[in-house]
C-alpha cells in the first residue's frame, strides 16, 4: 500500500523516542515491569492478589479495579502489552498532560470498563473469569484514536467499498480474540466501548477541570521539577493538527502530509557522483580478480592435498608384480614389436587371440568419425576380466592406446597392459571387473568406446559393444612410449570441456608412485618442480590454459564427462625405474580402486593443482572469475540506470550556488525516469547474437583444406563488419546516445550472465574470456574525438577473437588452420564446447562493443535523430 508516511526503522530515532517518553507513561511501564518482577518469586502470589476476579470483588478488595492493569500473566504478556501501550499512552499524555492522565487512568478510565466487565461477567454470564493486563487500556486508547481518525478521514476505500475507519479496532479485537490464546474478549470489548464513548466526547465531564489542575500545579511545585513531566502549558491538544493518526488505522489511508524524509540510500541514489563510480568499480573488480589469481600459489591460500575417501587406502598393500612377470612382459613386447606397421584389423586379431588365450572375454568395436572433411576410423578391441569376488556391477578400466596423442607408438604401454591382464587374472581378490581396452588412437577410439559403453553413441558412426560389464568406477590409461628406463611419472588429468577427475584419484596415484614406489610425480609437463612460487604459478596457469581450451589431453579425457574418474600415466625422464615399477604403480592404483565402496565422491571435482601435493579448491579460486564476470554486470546496471536519467542541462549545472533550489528541481526530475527506446538496442544485440552462428557453422563444417582460407576471409570480414554495421545503423536509424548506452548495457549484461554461468562449469575458460573481453567494459562512443575513437578501435581489433587466435598460433608456432582443425575434431568427436563460448558469447559482445565505439550520436544530430526515431517507432 503506497503511503507518504516515511516509516523506516532507525535506531537513533528509537533511542531518542524512548528517552523522551513522558512521566506517566514511564511510570506505568516501570510499575508493570516491577509487578512482573515481584511475580517471579513464589512467596506472595501477586496475581491472585491483584487480578480482577469477579467473585472476589468486595468493598475491601476494590483496589483490584486499579491494580489489575499492571499485573500480567508472564513476561511475554507484559512485553506485548508494553509495546502496544507505550505509543498510545505517550500520545494521550502528551495531549492531555501528566496530571490529567494520572487522574483519568487511576479513576474513571480504569474503573468504568472494569465495572462493565464485572457486571457482564458476573450477572449476565454468571461465570468467574479473572482478567489482568494492560490490554484493556490499549483497546480503550485505540477506540479513542479510531474515533478521532474517523472524524478526519471517514472512509477507507477497498475496491469499490467504503469501510468506515472507526471499525479498525473491532477488526483488531477479533484478530486478537482469534489468534491470542486466553485473551479476554469481553475485557477488551468493554475497554473498546468506553474508548468509543470517550472519543465521542461523552466522558469529558470526568476529566478534572483545567482550573483546578493549574491550581494544583502552581501549588505543588514539585511537579515542575520532575523530569519529563507534561504540564498544562506544554500539553498539545492539537499537536497532531489535521494529521490523521498513524497508530489507529493499520492501513494508511490517503494523507495530506508529504513525508519526504529521504533515507541514506535514497539520497545516495540521487547523487550524480554515484553514476561516475561504476567504471572504477569495474576496473577494481578486474584488478582484484587478477591479483586474487596470482595470490593462489602462496602457502596461505593453497592447501596440501589429502585423501578424503578412507576406503582407498593407497599404498597400503604390498605389490607383487615383478619377478617372472618381467619375462612375460618381454615376450609380449616381442609380440607387439612384431605387430608394428601392420593394419588395425590385423593388430586387433592378434591382440584378441592373446587375451582369449588368457581366458578373458573379448570384444571389438568399429567407429568412424568425420570432422573438417577428414575421416577418423578404426577398431577398438577390449577384454573383460570378470571379478572373482564381484557380481559384474562395477568395473575399472585399463586403457592402452596403440598411439599416444603425439602419434608415438605406445609399445611398452600395450605390452604392459597385456602383462597386467595375465597377472591380474591370477589374483582372486578383485571385487570389480577389470576391462582392458586397446584403441588405435588416443582420442577418437576411447571416445567411441566410452560412448557406446553408456549407450550414448550415434549408431550410424559407432558400433554398439558386444559385451559389457558394470558401472565404471575409474580408468587408468598408460602412455608408455619411452624405451629407456624412466625417472618419474607424469599424471595427465584434464578432461574434455575442462572437467576434472576427482582429486582423490590423483592423490592416490601421487601417494602410490611418489610415496610407495619412490618415483617422482609431475603435473602439467613441469618436468622439474622446485615447489617455489614461480613453478607453482606456472603449473597452475598451464593447467588453467588446458582446462580453458577444453581439449582432450589423452585417452582418459573421454571418460570424465561420463563421471568416470580417469587419469593417464606417462613415464618420463632418465632414471632407474623399469616397466615392472610402472606395473606396480598401476597394480597399486587398481588395488585402491578395487577397495572403493562407492563411487569417488568425497574429494573435490573443482580444483587447481599447483604442485603434486598442493591445490586450491573452488571456494578459494572461484571469486576471481566471478569478479571478472561481475564487472560486466555492474557496468550493465550502471548504463541502464544512466540511460533512464534525463540528460543534465548546462543551466542547472551553472547555478550550482543555489544548492537548495537545485536539489528541489532534481528531486522532481529524478523521479521522472526518461522513457527508454528499447526496440533498436534489443534488435542490435539480438542480431549480433544470431550472426554468431556464421563463424560457428563455418569453422565446424568447412573441409580441412578450406579452413585457412576461410579463416583469412573471416578475419577480414571481422575487421570490416563493425564499421559496416555501424554505418548502416547511423545512416538509417541514427541511434541516440541513450540507445548506444542500452546496446552496450544489454550486451554486457548477456556477457556477464554467460560468464557467471560458465564459471561454475569451466572456471578457466570463463576467466580467460572474461579477461580478454574486459576492455569492452570501458568502450563508449567518441563522437567528438576521432583520435580516441581510432585508438579504441585499434585496441578492440587487437583483442578480437580472430586476432587472439592468430597471436596464439604464432606463439605456439602453429598454423591457424591446424588449430581450427583440432577444434573441429574435438567439436565433432568429443563434444567440446569452447567454440560455442568463443563465437556465441565472446564474439557477439565484441561486435556490439565495436559498434558502440564507432557510434556517432552528436548533440548536433539530436534533432534529426529524434525525427528518425519516430520513424523507427512506426515500423
Amino acid at each position: 500500500m503506497p503511503s507518504t508516511n516515511a516509516v523506516s526503522f532507525n535506531t537513533s530515532r528509537v533511542r531518542s523516542y524512548v528517552f523522551r517518553l513522558p512521566l506517566f507513561t514511564r511510570a506505568v511501564i516501570i510499575v508493570i515491569v516491577a509487578f512482573w518482577v515481584i511475580g517471579v518469586q513464589s512467596l506472595w502470589d501477586v496475581r491472585t492478589w491483584g487480578a480482577l476476579i469477579p467473585d472476589e470483588i468486595g468493598i475491601t478488595t476494590l483496589y483490584r479495579l486499579n491494580t489489575f492493569p499492571f499485573i500480567h500473566l508472564n513476561a511475554f504478556h507484559a512485553i506485548m502489552n508494553i509495546l502496544a501501550l507505550t505509543p498510545l499512552m505517550e500520545r494521550f499524555e502528551a495531549e492531555h498532560g501528566t496530571l490529567t492522565s494520572l487522574a483519568l487512568f487511576f479513576g474513571p478510565l480504569t474503573t468504568i470498563p472494569s465495572f462493565i466487565y464485572l457486571f457482564v461477567e458476573k450477572f449476565i454470564l454468571r461465570s468467574n473469569t479473572s482478567v489482568m493486563g494492560a490490554s484493556m487500556w490499549v483497546f480503550l486508547l485505540l477506540g479513542m484514536e479510531a474515533i478521532r481518525t474517523y472524524k478526519v478521514n471517514p472512509y477507507l476505500v477497498v475496491a469499490t467499498h467504503n469501510i468506515p475507519t472507526w471499525t479498525t479496532p473491532i477488526a483488531l479485537l477479533l484478530c486478537v480474540a482469534a489468534l491470542v490464546p486466553s485473551s479476554s474478549f469481553l475485557g477488551h470489548l468493554s475497554g473498546l466501548v468506553v474508548g468509543y464513548v470517550c472519543g465521542l466526547g461523552y466522558l469529558k465531564f470526568l476529566a478534572p477541570p483545567e482550573r483546578i489542575l493549574r491550581w494544583v500545579e502552581s501549588k505543588v511545585n514539585i511537579f515542575g521539577r520532575l523530569p519529563h513531566y507534561v504540564n498544562m502549558d506544554q500539553k498539545t491538544y492539537g499537536r497532531f493538527g489535521v494529521l490523521p493518526s498513524s497508530g489507529g488505522s493499520p492501513i494508511g489511508g490517503p494523507t495530506t502530509a508529504k513525508g519526504v524524509v529521504g533515507t541514506g540510500a535514497l539520497r545516495l541514489r540521487r547523487d550524480p557522483r554515484i553514476l561516475k563510480l561504476p567504471p572504477y568499480l569495474s576496473l577494481l573488480c578486474i584488478l582484484v580478480g587478477v591479483v586474487w589469481l596470482f595470490l593462489l600459489p602462496l602457502d596461505d591460500y593453497s592447501r596440501r592435498t589429502y585423501i578424503s575417501e578412507n576406503a582407498l587406502l593407497p599404498g597400503q598393500v604390498h605389490t607383487y608384480f615383478g619377478g617372472s612377470d618381467q619375462n612375460v612382459f618381454r615376450a609380449y613386447k616381442h609380440e607387439v614389436n612384431a605387430m608394428v606397421g601392420k593394419g588395425n584389423i590385423e593388430i586387433n586379431d592378434k591382440l584378441e587371440s592373446i587375451v582369449k588365450g588368457l581366458g578373458l572375454k573379448a570384444g571389438r568395436q568399429n567407429f568412424t568419425y568425420s570432422a573438417a572433411g577428414l575421416v577418423y576410423s578404426g577398431e577398438n578391441v577390449y577384454a573383460i576380466l570378470q571379478a572373482p569376488r564381484g557380481d559384474a556391477t562395477e568395473a575399472i578400466v585399463l586403457v592402452a592406446a596403440w598411439e599416444n596423442v603425439k602419434q608415438e607408438l605406445n609399445r611398452n604401454g600395450v605390452a604392459l597392459a597385456l602383462t597386467l591382464a595375465r597377472y591380474f587374472k591370477r589374483w582372486s581378490l578383485w571385487s570389480k571387473d577389470i576391462v582392458f581396452l586397446v584403441t588405435p588412437d588416443s582420442i577418437a577410439g576411447p571416445q567411441a568406446w566410452v560412448d557406446a559403453y553408456h549407450d550414448a553413441h550415434d549408431s550410424s558412426r559407432v558400433d554398439s559393444l558386444p559385451i559389457k560389464s558394470g558401472a565404471l568406477q575409474g580408468a587408468i590409461a598408460i602412455d608408455y612410449s619411452q624405451e629407456s628406463r624412466f625417472e618419474s611419472v607424469h599424471i595427465v588429468y584434464d578432461g574434455v570441456n575442462g572437467q576434472l577427475p576427482n582429486l582423490d584419484l590423483i592423490n592416490s596415484v601421487v601417494s602410490i608412485a611418489g610415496g610407495q614406489m619412490g618415483m617422482g610425480v609431475a603435473l602439467q609437463e613441469m618436468w622439474h618442480h622446485n615447489d617455489q612460487y614461480p613453478d607453482r604459478l606456472r603449473t597452475m596457469l598451464r593447467g588453467m590454459l588446458k582446462q580453458g581450451l577444453g581439449l582432450a589431453s589423452g585417452p582418459h579425457s573421454s571418460f570424465i564427462p561420463y563421471h568416470v574418474d580417469a587419469v593417464t600415466l606417462q613415464p618420463f625422464g632418465d632414471g632407474w625405474q623399469d616397466e615392472m615399477a610402472m606395473g606396480r604403480v598401476i597394480e597399486g592404483t587398481f588395488r585402491s580402486l578395487n577397495n572403493l565402496l562407492e563411487h569417488l565422491h568425497q574429494s573435490f571435482f573443482f580444483y587447481l593443482l599447483m604442485q603434486r601435493e598442493r591445490f586450491v579448491s573452488i571456494g578459494t579460486y572461484l571469486p576471481s572469475a566471478m569478479l571478472v564476470a561481475i564487472n560486466f554486470t555492474i557496468m550493465a546496471i550502471a548504463l541502464w540506470v544512466k540511460s533512464g536519467q534525463p540528460e543534465s542541462t548546462p543551466a542547472t549545472a551553472a547555478d550550482g550556488a543555489e544548492a537548495a533550489g537545485e536539489t528541489v528541481t532534481k528531486l522532481n526530475t529524478s523521479t521522472l525516469a526518461v522513457e527508454r527506446e528499447l526496440f533498436l538496442p534489443l534488435g542490435v544485440v539480438t542480431i549480433c547474437q544470431f550472426l554468431a552462428v556464421i563463424p560457428l557453422y563455418l569453422f565446424n563444417h568447412a573441409p580441412e583444406n578450406m579452413l585457412t582460407p576461410a579463416f583469412v576471409i573471416f578475419a577480414v570480414f571481422n575487421a570490416v563488419l563493425p564499421s559496416a554495421l555501424s554505418s548502416v545503423l547511423t545512416n538509417y536509424y541514427a541511434p541516440s546516445a541513450q540507445q548506444y548506452q542500452l546496446i552496450k548495457s544489454f550486451s554486457l549484461l548477456l556477457l556477464g550472465m554467460f560468464l557467471a554461468s560458465l564459471a561454475t562449469l569451466n572456471f578457466s575458460l570463463a576467466l580467460l574470456v572474461g579477461l580478454l573481453a574486459s576492455p569492452l567494459t570501458f568502450m563508449r562512443p567518441w563522437p567528438q574525438s576521432p583520435v580516441l575513437r581510432a585508438a579504441c578501435t585499434v585496441l578492440l581489433n587487437a583483442v578480437s577473437p580472430t586476432a587472439i587466435l592468430v597471436a596464439s598460433a604464432a606463439y605456439w608456432r602453429l598454423d591457424a588452420g591446424a588449430i581450427l582443425r583440432e577444434a573441429a575434431f574435438a567439436w565433432h568427436v568429443c563434444g567440446m564446447n569452447s567454440p560455442v563460448v568463443v563465437w556465441c558469447v565472446w564474439w557477439p559482445a565484441w561486435l556490439a562493443g565495436s559498434i558502440t565505439v564507432l557510434g556517432k550520436s552528436e548533440e548536433t544530430k539530436k534533432k534529426t535523430s529524434t525525427v528518425v526515431t519516430v520513424k523507427t517507432k512506426a515500423l
Binding site: 500500500m1 503506497p2 477497498v158 571435482f605 561454475t760 515500423l875
Partner: protein, 425 residues
C-alpha cells in the same frame, strides 16, 4: 514499436512467421524436441509429453492409462491424441496440433489487447491508457518468447491450458460470458488450478456484458454462470469417466496435484520442501501450501475490483511461482499478459532487475542441473537455489506490476501526487 496497427495482413504474417519458426525447430533440429521434452523446466509430471505417450500406449492397448503410475494428465487428452496419426510414424500431425494451439493463444491475446480492457475497464480508466501496446506487439512478444517456443517444441500439455485460459479471458472481454465459462472449465479440467481464476473472471464477464442482454444483479449473474461452469465440468468428468472406464482418473490427475505424490524436480518451490519433510508434517504443509496459493484470489479480487484483468494477470504470475508443478509454460502465460500493461511500465521500478534475475536464472538453472545430475559435482541444493532465484524474479515482477497498477489507480484519486516519489510499505 507502438505504431503497430493490427491489420489482417500483418496478423497473418506474424502467425505465419511464428509457425514457420516452430516448424523449422521441429523438423530441422531433430534432436531438439526430445531434448526439450526431457527438460525438467518444461516437462513436469502433469504436463510431460513423454508421460502422455506412455499413457497413450497403455490406453491404446486397453490398459487403464493410470495403471503405470506415470500418467497424471486429463483422460480426454488420450482420445484426442489417439485420433491423430501415430506420433512415431507421422509426427507432423502432433507438431501441427501444438503450433495450432500457440496460434490460437496468440489470436486470443490479439483480441484481449484489442479490447483495451487493460487500460480502460468498466469501472476504471487509466490516465495513461493512450500509450498502450498494440495487439500485434503483444502477440509477437508471446509467440517469439523463448519460453513459449520452448514449451511448444517440448510439447508440454501446458500449452493447451494456456490456450484455454487465454480464450476464457478473450471471450470475457468480448462480452461472451458463457463462452468464457466453457473455456475456463476446459482449462480447469486440464490442470485444475485455473479454477481459482473463476472469481476475477466472473467479475470481468460481469463488467464486460453486452448492454443489450446485461444482467444487473451480480448475484444472479454469478449463480447462473457458476452453474454453467459446473455443468460443463460435470459433462467433462462424465465423458472422462466413459473414456477411462472408472473414476480412478480423479486421484491420478487432480489427486497428484493436491497431494504432490510425484516429487520430480521442477522449477517450483514445492518439490524440495516435500522431499526434505518428515512424513508426519506432510499433510499439514500440503494444506498450508495450498491455502497460501489460493489465499491471493480473494484479496486481489477485492482490492483490484475495478480492474479484473489485472487480477487475472497477477494471479497467473503468482500461480507460475507457487503452484505445485510449475513450468516455464506457466511463466510464458504470465509474461504474455504483462505487455498489456505497457501503460504502467513507466511506474514500475525493477524492470531491469527482474529481467536480469530471470535471465540469470534461465542460464544458471540448466548449468546447475547439469552439475547435479550429469557431472555429479553439485547436488540438489544447487538447482533448488536457482529455482528460488527464478521464483524471486517472478514474484518481484508480480509485486512491481501490482505496485504500478495500484499507483495508477491512486493517481486518479490523488491527482496532486502525480510524479511524486512515494514508498511502498
Amino acid at each position: 514499436m507502438d505504431g503497430g496497427k493490427v491489420t489482417p495482413g500483418r496478423t497473418m504474417a506474424l502467425l505465419a512467421g511464428a509457425s514457420v519458426l516452430r516448424l523449422a525447430m521441429f523438423t530441422l533440429l531433430p534432436g531438439l524436441p526430445d531434448l526439450l521434452a526431457g527438460r525438467v523446466e518444461i516437462s513436469t509430471p502433469v504436463t510431460s509429453f513423454k508421460r502422455l505417450q506412455e499413457g497413450l500406449f497403455l490406453y491404446n492397448h486397453n490398459v487403464s492409462p493410470y495403471d503405470g503410475g506415470v500418467y497424471h494428465q486429463a483422460p480426454l487428452l488420450l482420445p484426442l491424441f489417439s485420433l491423430l496419426p501415430s506420433f512415431a510414424a507421422f509426427p507432423l500431425a502432433t507438431y501441427m496440433l501444438y503450433i495450432g494451439a500457440d496460434l490460437l493463444s496468440a489470436r486470443a491475446l490479439l483480441r484481449i489487447a484489442g479490447s483495451g480492457e487493460a487500460g480502460e475497464s468498466a469501472l476504471f480508466a487509466s490516465p495513461r491508457r493512450e500509450k498502450r501496446a498494440s495487439g500485434l506487439v503483444v502477440a509477437a512478444l508471446f509467440l517469439f518468447n523463448p519460453f513459449t517456443i520452448a514449451s511448444c517444441v517440448g510439447r508440454s500439455t501446458g500449452v493447451f491450458t494456456t490456450c484455454a485460459i487465454l480464450h476464457a479471458i478473450a471471450r470475457a472481454v468480448s462480452g461472451a460470458p458463457l463462452g468464457a465459462m466453457v473455456a475456463l472449465s476446459f482449462a480447469a479440467y486440464l490442470s485444475m488450478y485455473p479454477l481459482l481464476l473463476l472469481p476475477p473472471l466472473l467479475l470481468l464477464c460481469y463488467d464486460r456484458q453486452l448492454p443489450k442482454r446485461a444482467t444487473r444483479s451480480l448475484t444472479q449473474f454469478a449463480t447462473t454462470h457458476l452453474a454453467v461452469a459446473a455443468g460443463v465440468l460435470a459433462a467433462l468428468f462424465w465423458m472422462s469417466f466413459l473414456v477411462a472406464g472408472s473414476w480412478e482418473f480423479l486421484p491420478s490427475t487432480y489427486g497428484v496435484q493436491l497431494t504432490l505424490s510425484d516429487l520430480a524436480p521442477n522449477v517450483g518451490l514445492w518439490w524440495y520442501f516435500f522431499v526434505e519433510m518428515f512424513d508426519s508434517f506432510r499433510s499439514f504443509f500440503l494444506a498450508v501450501f495450498w491455502l497460501h496459493l489460493s489465499c491471493y484470489v480473494g484479496g486481489l479480487t477485492v482490492r483490484l475490483r475495478r480492474q479484473p484483468l489485472a487480477v487475472l494477470t497477477l494471479l497467473l504470475g503468482i500461480f507460475a511461482v507457487f503452484k505445485p508443478y510449475p513450468s516455464i509454460s506457466d511463466t510464458s502465460l504470465f509474461l504474455a499478459l504483462v505487455p498489456l500493461y505497457r501503460h504502467v511500465v513507466p511506474l514500475m521500478r525493477y524492470t531491469f532487475v527482474v529481467a536480469a534475475v530471470i535471465m540469470y536464472a534461465t542460464f544458471l538453472g540448466p548449468a546447475f542441473y547439469h552439475l547435479w545430475i550429469y557431472a555429479g559435482s553439485g547436488n540438489a541444493n544447487f538447482f533448488y537455489a536457482i529455482t528460488l532465484v527464478w521464483g524471486l524474479g517472478q514474484s518481484l515482477l508480480v509485486c512491481d506490476l501490482t505496485f504500478a497498477v495500484l499507483r495508477d489507480e491512486w493517481e486518479v484519486e490523488r491527482p496532486e501526487m502525480v510524479g511524486k516519489e512515494i514508498r511502498q510499505i
